[in-house]
């Protein structure tokens, strides 16, 4: 009943949409709608009724007003690289694909900030900034839209040193459901810190597109580190790996990335990327800084890992080797799926105090064995955060059911 009423509403608004953003920017094509109804996750495609491609914030605002007047759901769409099914139009509606708004505005080099529109991805921004000595370090793996990263409060491997989107978004321009355009920290403002007013910016960061459409985000930039060193170290047990992490952090080493992969994950990565790491719990680390500070950081870290029975401490400084090391970790998503061809991966995201991490991971692995599930584990141990990537056969309802129960237990 509701869907039928909505279909009629969509037909009425089509001409309004076309007059706002032009014929070319309104699409009813099945392929286009399907493309905008799914992301990189295992969740089923839920296509919207129509996709619009606004070119500026004024168009977004006018389109939103029309949707509001006709009670149509709005789904903002950046790059569709999410892993949680956030873009599925579960009640149909209008998908606002923001890829035509792709300007990089207002770079202030001395103030370390820049403003970007939703069509700008993090790799595009960093390529643009390459001559300035600045970069934006939040890296959730995918080459995602920066405004999308703000909406989902993206984190990533660099969070242990540089923070997540919560700490690095200074201002947002948002179009609310009725078309009103607001600036969460004031128009054009980019103070590095403030105690004035409610923290609206952080209300919207992480709101997953449920409170408004983000059309601009002002980001905090950092200096590109003079040098980087990446290292890999294997451990006889999960406990040893996590203990090393805790001690490295306690020693005050400003480690930039510290990632944990369990034996199943390492095995998958070895197979997928043709590597030959020992198949045991492993830590991937990265240090940023000047040449001298790097020597100190690496020496301290090596000492700590050795005292925890860590072995094979390999490290690399040149860009090509470092990229290869990290590609293995970033490709974990695909490596996990490759373990069982034809299956899809269902990502889980758990965060606990560091001290509880070894116990949680050990219990999780036991549960996986008992439930006969494949679930390689990779995680940002520096933040006590890990992902258990459930590899499931989408056509096996029993397995899907087991995965569901497992994730419920995991969340508790």
């Amino acid at each position: 009943m509701c869907v039928f009423v909505q279909k009629a509403a969509v037909d009425r608004v089509l001409s309004a949409f076309r007059s706002i953003c032009g014929e070319d920017c309104v699409s009813l094509g099945e392929a286009v709608r399907e493309q905008h109804g799914k992301d990189e996750s295992v969740h089923k495609c839920r296509p919207p009724d129509v996709v619009v491609f606004p070119r500026c914030v004024e168009e977004v605002s006018s389109l939103a007003k029309v949707c509001h007047d006709h009670n149509l759901p709005i789904i903002p769409f950046g790059t569709g690289t999410g892993l949680e099914g956030g873009v599925g139009a579960v009640k149909g509606g209008v998908c606002f694909s923001l890829r035509n708004m792709e300007q990089i505005l207002d770079l202030h080099q001395e103030d370390f900030d820049v403003t970007v529109e939703p069509g700008v991805t993090r790799k595009t921004l960093n390529a643009y900034l390459r001559d300035t000595g600045l970069w934006f370090p939040v890296d959730p793996g995918a080459d995602a839209s920066l405004c999308g990263m703000a909406a989902t409060s993206a984190s990533g491997t660099n969070a242990v040193r540089y923070g997540t989107m919560r700490e690095n978004v200074m201002n947002l321009e948002v179009v609310l459901s009725n078309g009103t355009v607001i600036h969460t920290a004031g128009k054009g403002r980019r103070p590095r810190k403030t105690s004035a007013g409610y923290n609206l910016t952080n209300l919207f960061v992480g709101s997953e597109g449920t409170l408004g459409i983000i059309t601009k985000t002002t980001l905090r930039l950092y200096g590109i580190p003079e040098s980087m060193v990446s290292a890999v170290c294997s451990f006889p047990s999960v406990q040893a790996a996590v203990d090393s992490t805790v001690q490295i952090l306690q020693a005050g080493v400003p480690v930039a990335r510290i990632e944990f992969l369990d034996d199943v994950m390492i095995d998958a990565c070895n197979k997928f990327s043709s590597l030959s790491y020992p198949v045991t719990p492993t830590l991937f680390l990265e240090f940023h800084g000047s040449e001298r500070s790097l020597e100190e950081q690496v020496a301290t870290a090596e000492e700590i890992t050795q005292s925890n029975e860590g072995s094979d401490f390999q490290w690399a400084q040149d860009a090509e080797t470092r990229n290869r090391l990290w590609k293995a970790r970033h490709d974990a998503w695909y490596a996990a799926q490759a373990l069982r061809p034809g299956c899809k991966a269902y990502s889980t995201d758990v965060c606990v105090p560091l001290s509880r991490l070894p116990q949680i991971i050990v219990e999780t692995k036991k549960d996986l064995l008992e439930s006969r599930l494949t679930g390689p584990i990779a995680g940002h141990v520096g933040d006590g955060n890990f992902h258990c990537l459930m590899v499931v056969d989408p056509n096996d309802p029993d397995e899907l059911h087991r995965v569901h129960l497992f994730t419920e237990r995991l969340a508790r």
């Binding site: 595009t124 643009y128 001559d131 590109i224 003079e226």
Partner: protein
């Protein structure tokens, strides 16, 4: 050299005389970045003593030279060419300038990008070598300097070709030669203090007259919408109609 940044969407000027450059982001030509990186690497390996970055163009070319200095070049030379001369500046003129500078500076190696991404000529390196009567190693994907000669692995259509040439020589950098480093803030600061000398083409005895005239610049033709057909017979019929079969 300074070109429109590779990520920018190029637009043709309404009068079809060229592309829009006003207000558009410019950066160092990507192949030149690779050339600078290779030169800096040679210096780090202590195989060369000094790296000099050269660019021909208007005032803004100095920014490009500063980026090269931030990557590790020791000093820069800005050959000032602006206005109409800059619009008609092409490989012939640049190679004459490079040849003159190479003689003046007593250079042992000239490393350039294989081609510029705005004109795609792929001629400057070759012309420079010819003017100087030096050997050339173009499309280099690997360079090994060994005393008074250079081993160059070149990317060619059939695969890879390895040659050994004597110095002084001209090399042009191809994509896989190396991965250029990012300029870091401390290095950008240091670069501000490095010297950039200012030179005019006339001082080098170079005549900038171009023998080429650009008649017009057009965008590639717009892609027409496709058509869906239900059967193979339909497809063949439509192809015949369009005169393709």
């Amino acid at each position: 050299m300074r070109v429109i940044d590779y990520a920018v969407k190029i637009r043709v000027k309404p009068d079809n005389s060229g592309v829009v450059t006003d207000g558009v982001k410019h950066s160092m030509n990507p192949f030149c970045e690779i050339a600078v990186e290779e030169a800096v690497k040679l210096k780090e390996k202590k195989l060369v003593k000094e790296v000099v970055a050269v660019s021909c163009g208007p005032q803004q070319s100095q920014e490009t030279i500063r980026t090269a200095l931030a990557m590790g070049a020791d000093r820069g030379i800005h050959v000032e060419v602006s206005g109409k001369d800059y619009e008609s500046l092409g490989p012939l003129q640049v190679s004459k300038i490079m040849a003159a500078l190479a003689k003046k500076e007593e250079a042992q190696l000239i490393i350039l990008g294989k081609q510029a991404i705005d004109d795609d000529c792929n001629q400057t390196g070759q012309m420079t070598a010819a003017l100087l009567d030096w050997p050339q190693g173009t499309f280099a994907s690997e360079v090994s300097l060994d005393g008074d000669n250079v081993k160059v692995v070149r990317e060619i259509d059939g695969g890879l070709e390895t040659i050994r040439i004597n110095t002084p020589a001209v090399l042009t950098a191809d994509l896989r030669l190396n991965t250029p480093r990012y300029a870091t803030l401390p290095n950008i600061m240091k670069a501000k203090k490095k010297k950039i000398a200012n030179v005019k083409p006339a001082d080098l005895g170079v005549d900038l007259t171009s023998r080429l005239e650009v008649l017009r610049v057009d965008e590639p033709p717009q892609r027409l919408a496709g058509m869906k057909v239900e059967t193979v017979e339909d497809l063949v019929a439509k192809l015949k109609d369009a005169g393709r079969v």
